[in-house]
Amino acid sequence: MLSHPPIIRPALILFVILSIITGIIYPLAITGIAQVAFADKANGSIITDAGSGNGGKPSGSSLIGQEFGTSDPAAAPALAKWFWGRPSATSPVPYTALNLDKGTGSSGSNLAQTNPALLDNIKARLAALDAADASVGIVRTITAPGATDSTPAQRITAVPVDLVTSSASGLDPHISPAAAEYQVPRIAKARGLTEDALRALVHQHTQGRAFGLLGEPVVNVLALNQALGNISR
């Protein structure tokens, strides 16, 4: 009859060996392969905007969005010439990918569908979009005769839902093609471009579904705006 098998020594040594293999060798090996085969992507897909005039410094990551819009109607006219991305719930400013001083980074709003704050956020964003449009003479709402303050104005064109709801990460680099199209008339007027020229630019920065099937078609807002900045100041 065998005595009890040893337990403590195998448990300790196996833990140490498997920790070294899975916790050090494995990530280092993957990093090595990644840095050789996909150096750009492994390091955050950093892009440099040649025309930005900031001395060739990195101007963003093609995977991380930046704030171009606002939910403040007073600030909206100044931003009318940019394509706006998704609203972002990060703090202290939208699209904060990392702020070590404040300990903040990627974040969604986590507002429930029944939370009145969600409706308030959406209303503020709609008001800001309308203010940006109004600043270049585009009217998006009609007020029915006899309407009071409590009955909302009627919208002529419905606003694509992704343009008024905050993303899961707060860093979403994309909007839907519908959300880009909604903004084309405003930006064309603000920049003195034709709508067709602008649509062609949007089209260049639109990615379809992977294999025509997976995911959703999207427009990269940062890339589109940087291209826009380069053709019209």
Binding site: I7, G23, P27, T165, H174
Partner: protein
């Protein structure tokens, strides 16, 4: 039309991989030392032998590790996991003084470190912290990353022991736990993770040891920051709770200063290697705060497809492994069929609820109808590149399997769209479930079903030719009931505690949804899932402790009875099937199994769900006040 098509393709690819991977895993779990298919034995066999030699694993005359009875096997597994807990806790507390910390992060607070250590050792990966702002690269790799592997290996090892117990006749042993842990890690988890990690990097997931990168914003931003009160010496004045006191001007309003923001800081890190095993091992703990919603953790529709596939891959394929190891593949198909019968309708329902969106938002003039150029539906807390279909698929998959990673914020789902992920967890994480743990949980439900069916037709309950005795029934009942008790008692305690204890303090939404947030947290912890209604501020003493305990008991109070069943079944004789034997591979039995799982889950949780998501749904469709 595209949405349903995407869901069907994902399921089809998953089912196509069940057989080859299931066969492969059976070969690994039954193989000799240094022997594994696809040339892996030839490549890594030497390593396996060295590990056994260093650990002092006893070998028999055939040069195989000496097998263990269920008691030493259990003690070994528990001790191995306890060591893991100590290691993860220590790494977090000491990270400030350790290397691979380019962001210079300090030690993690003790309560949070306890919670996180339990969370990763139990394969839950509940996260009370934000990864990019809390954990150094070393803690992520050597603490959390290691447990991603070892907790998954633990689950598969326990399952392997249970299957051997069912398959063997009159045997005193159920395998060698050191060999199972080693072989699962070396031959199953590491190769699959390496392949997936490289594929993810090719899509843009970061894998780097550089510190955060600073980039210049195209449009500079600014914000108003409240100014804090300082005393004469220039130190910030704190109130009784230690929070800084804001400075107020003569008019009584808080004083603010305008802060300009001209740059953005992009976090990096060895993420891809960890995300691969996070999905394959049904761990789910994200590298970044928002998990797989983060564009650097899940950048494209293809990376999303691969990650969702990886969530379900091993749990589904283990069903085939089970059939293979008990030498009756029909038994494996029957269990997989039962899982699919529950999963597919719930997935379809989540998709339908999220596609519909919320009437109050549509009433503002927002386009919530899906079209060719816009996603429609409920897009709050969802990423544009995933839209509704991929977010719904992920939500169902991550809660059916006990993964818990997210690519959308479940807190912002519609009430009924959020009810389904919650209920999938409450079913006990047996619909796919965790790697290993899902199937061993389901096999306990099989024992209960066989017993119930035996009572109905008046026969002695048998499974795979073995008699089910009161001992197995007791153990199965413990496995079924422990998570239910943890969820309901935990939630009840949290909402019943007086103000100031912190149970109700963390909720971020009003009304029934606040209750849903607490119920979701305990459903997740009590079933080792790890996903959250993330608005709940769970990094508090109360939640760190309560959820930590729930995770610990739900993992190990199940593993022990499961291994006890393995030991007891291994010792039994196999009686030949007769015309009176209840077959356990037929559609009738699959229906029986599904019914038992659903009835237990419904009877236990419908009252609680009525107070949370159902009440919230009624509130949603009520006219605005």
């Amino acid at each position: 039309m595209n949405g349903p098509l995407q869901l069907m393709i994902s399921l089809a690819v998953l089912l196509a991989l069940v057989k080859p991977l299931g066969w492969f895993m059976a070969r690994v779990l039954e193989g000799q030392t240094g022997d594994a298919p696809l040339g892996l034995g030839r490549t890594f066999g030497w390593l396996e032998r060295i590990i056994y030699a260093l650990c002092g694993v006893r070998m028999n005359v055939e040069r195989r590790p000496v097998e263990m009875g269920w008691e030493p096997y259990t003690v070994g597994i528990l001790l191995f996991n306890a060591i893991g807990f100590v290691a993860v806790y220590a790494l977090q507390r000491l990270q400030g003084a350790l290397p691979a910390n380019p962001a210079g992060l300090g030690p993690v607070e003790a309560g949070s470190a306890f919670n996180t250590a339990v969370s990763f050792v139990t394969n839950t990966n509940w996260q009370g912290y934000g990864g990019e702002t809390t954990m150094s690269y070393l803690t992520q790799m050597l603490g959390l990353g290691v447990q991603n592997f070892l907790s998954a290996a633990t689950g598969i090892a326990v399952l392997a022991a249970l299957i051997r117990g069912l398959a063997r006749r009159s045997s005193a042993t159920i395998g060698n736990c050191w060999a199972d842990l080693t072989r699962v890690t070396l031959y199953i988890l590491l190769p699959l993770s390496a392949v997936l990690a490289i594929a993810l990097v090719s899509q843009g997931v970061v894998q780097s040891f550089r510190g955060p990168q600073t980039v210049v914003l195209t449009v500079p931003l600014s914000y108003d920051e409240p100014v804090m009160k300082t005393d004469a010496a220039g130190n910030v004045v704190s109130d009784t709770e230690g929070k800084p006191v804001p400075l107020t001007g003569p008019d009584g309003k808080p004083v603010t200063k305008l802060v300009a923001v001209t740059t953005q800081t992009i976090p990096l890190g060895p993420a891809a290697s960890q995300i691969a095993i996070k999905q394959l091992g049904t761990n789910g703990g994200g590298f970044f705060n928002v998990n797989s919603a983060h564009p650097l953790e899940n950048p494209t529709a293809l990376s999303n497809f691969l990650q969702v596939l990886a969530i379900l891959l091993i749990p589904a394929a283990l069903c085939w492994t089970f059939g293979e190891m008990v030498r009756d593949r029909r038994q494996g198909w029957a269990v997989l069929a039962a899982m699919l019968v529950i999963f597919v309708p719930l997935l379809a329902a989540t998709y339908a609820f999220e596609s519909r969106g919320t009437p109050a938002i549509a009433a503002l003039g927002v386009d919530t109808m899906a079209g060719t150029a816009g996603p429609g539906g409920n897009m709050e807390g969802k990423e544009a590149r995933f839209g509704i279909a991929d977010s719904a698929l992920w939500a169902a998959a991550t809660t059916a399997a006990s993964n818990g990673s997210v690519n959308a914020m479940h807190d912002s789902f519609t009430p009924l769209g959020g009810l389904i992920p919650m209920w999938l967890m409450q079913l006990g994480e047996v619909v796919f479930g965790g790697v290993g743990s899902g199937l061993y949980g389901m096999l306990m439900f099989v024992i209960v079903s066989v017993f119930v069916a035996g009572l109905m037709v008046g026969r002695t309950p048998e499974y795979l030719g073995k008699k089910i005795d009161p001992f197995e029934m007791k153990m199965a009942a413990i496995v079924v009931l422990v998570p239910c008790a943890l969820v309901l008692v935990g939630t009840a305690v949290a909402v019943a505690l007086p103000e100031g204890w912190g149970g109700r303090a963390g909720v971020s939404n009003p009304g029934p949804h606040a209750f849903s947030q607490i119920l979701y947290a305990f459903s997740s912890a009590g079933n080792n899932n790890g996903s959250a209604f993330a608005g709940l501020s769970a990094n508090t003493p109360f939640y760190n402790l309560a959820l930590g305990l729930a995770m610990w008991f739900s993992r190990f109070w199940i593993i022990v009875p499961v291994l006890a069943v393995a030991g007891s079944m291994a010792g039994k004789k196999i009686t030949p099937a007769t015309s009176g034997t209840l077959p356990t591979h037929t559609p009738v039995f699959v229906g029986m199994l599904v019914a038992v799982v659903i009835i237990v889950g419904a009877l236990t949780f419908v009252p609680a769900l009525a107070l949370g998501p159902v009440a919230e749904h009624l509130q949603l469709s009520a006219p605005a006040r």
